[in-house]
Symmetry: D2
Subunit: 189 residues, 4 copies
């Protein structure tokens, strides 16, 4: 997201911020940004080695299950992101419309059914839980996008210019399209 | 499961039944079997081409999103399995203990974070929703296992003898081990 | 290659031509182009679904083994491309230098050890065999590049603009760099 | 192969031996075994992480290109296995008949077009080059089989019992079937 920081997209200003890859710190850091900027839209972005497309995550699940330690040396196994929280939260982004726009623009994109069980999913769940449960965030939509490696990092990968163009387009669609997750209305209302 | 039908495992008799690959029929067919047999444990099994391990599914999500039609010609897109149901239900099987036992027995096994969005996930969600919400099923545990192709069907695959041995062992562990999904207690109680 | 047709690269004019996906016709069609244009360099390009990088093929092997029929309905099984020809020919392109240049330019690239056993490898072998055995082609270098799907065709894929940029850069490096396949000298001299 | 050491297969005694994963030592070690035992058949076996089937290698290529160092700390890049040797040698095993027999026995098997460019391919090429060029080995057939990880090592994998059964069957077919690589006759005669 860094290349988009400060840019205007669909009448909104993009604020990009880096979160620590630390289970115990990332949600609070994200929350501080949300409280400060009062965004219309929150899209978290993480890198997923092995994926070859911009992955629009559909659902965050209430579990941490780390195969490696985070940057603070912690490795939670089968513990909830939010004790007592629901098993999962759906993204409230229009992921199908985003995928269609990306493909139309010649950028590989897919809807993904799992954001994993590491810090990415942890942040995603914490975000969606806050948006779903705190009245102050009632009009904020959110979601998560996984991106491939850069070409220098390995294969499969996606060039940085395509990533930046893809994320910009994803933001634009998310800001101008109603959610297409039909069940979201039923479940969140 | 067919090779295990009628067999005794950990003091219980295995009943194997085939469900139709039809969104609108599979849950009711499964429910009829549960009502008739009052099982201690319900494990649904489906085949997942492209997977190379016995996949112990962690979570069922409340969405149908079919890329192809089911056997009745229906292809639901982004519709809920159970309107108004929670976004997801966790398996109540001891999936980590099952994985460990399978690996110890020399059978490739993994925990999977997605059962997809086709009939398999539909059945899995319907099962877990019924077990979680209907008092008659309060003491029944359930989950879903995806298995690879057979060698004759393509690659990756798993020989039938290993599949049968693996499913038998999975049943045995599930019948003799408490669930290790720590958050399950918190969420379902 | 079509987007590069007629363009100048490193002082040479690009001629792009489409070959039929037919075992019995493609080599002769390629040969006619080579005889007419007397190229400095011949790079054949084919699409390989499932690959996520621009694949610089290292070696063509003397076998046809088709899992599906070609566009003329022929499906050779375990028959040689050139009866009596050597088991394989190495590409005479500087594939390592090409890979490095592509990665530096932010385009995913890899050296591949197999061009398969379908029409792509058939054309590749026929090309390299002609270049290696016919004195008229003694100063012509050649090779094969597999490219991913376009984003509209499936995942993994590569945007058309990156493909065109990557192929142009590959041509440029091939025209301005000596081969880096060290054994080539030993084997072809 | 260790589980098959000393066993009788199709009237022949199996000798299993471990080669060092060292470019400079493995061919000589293999050659010493061949000279001592005068085998009817030589099948080298290596493990290939990431493969999910017993892979019957079709062709050995005359190149070493190591991404990591061997067990002696050497990492050859783009150097020939045998300077001045042909670009490749085909396996002289009946790989299609072996694949069919394995699949019939319920064991995942495939024909592979590349044995890589590390020590496995190095040994394979050195073996086939010796068999093709030394009169003393004129009646010996040879080839290479890559096997998946064991389940304890990772996914994809194959249980040890299936591996042993598969290799035994592969030996049996190779000892009782004429080669089905049609071009082999043309090229080796």
């Amino acid at each position: 997201m860094q290349p988009l920081h400060g840019r205007q997209v669909a009448g909104h200003r993009v604020v990009a911020a880096l979160l620590p890859t630390v289970f115990s710190q990332a949600p609070a850091a994200l929350r501080a940004h949300i409280v400060r900027h009062q965004p219309r839209l929150v899209i978290c972005v993480g890198q997923a080695g092995g994926r070859s497309a911009i992955s629009l995550e559909r659902i965050a699940i209430n579990i941490d299950d780390a195969r490696i330690a985070d940057n603070a040396g912690r490795q939670p196994i089968d513990s909830p992101v939010v004790p007592g929280g629901p098993a999962a939260h759906f993204s409230t982004l229009p992921i199908k419309a985003m995928r269609a726009a990306l493909l139309d623009a010649g950028i590989t994109a897919e809807v993904s059914q799992t954001a994993g069980t590491f810090v990415c999913n942890h942040v995603f769940y914490a975000l969606m839980h806050a948006l779903a449960t705190e009245p102050a965030f009632a009009s904020t939509r959110g979601g998560f996008i996984h991106v491939p490696w850069l070409p220098q990092q390995g294969n499969p990968s996606m060039p940085l210019a395509d990533l930046a163009r893809g994320l910009r387009l994803a933001l634009q669609v998310a800001l101008t399209t109603d959610t297409d997750i039909r069940q979201a209305a039923g479940q969140l209302s």
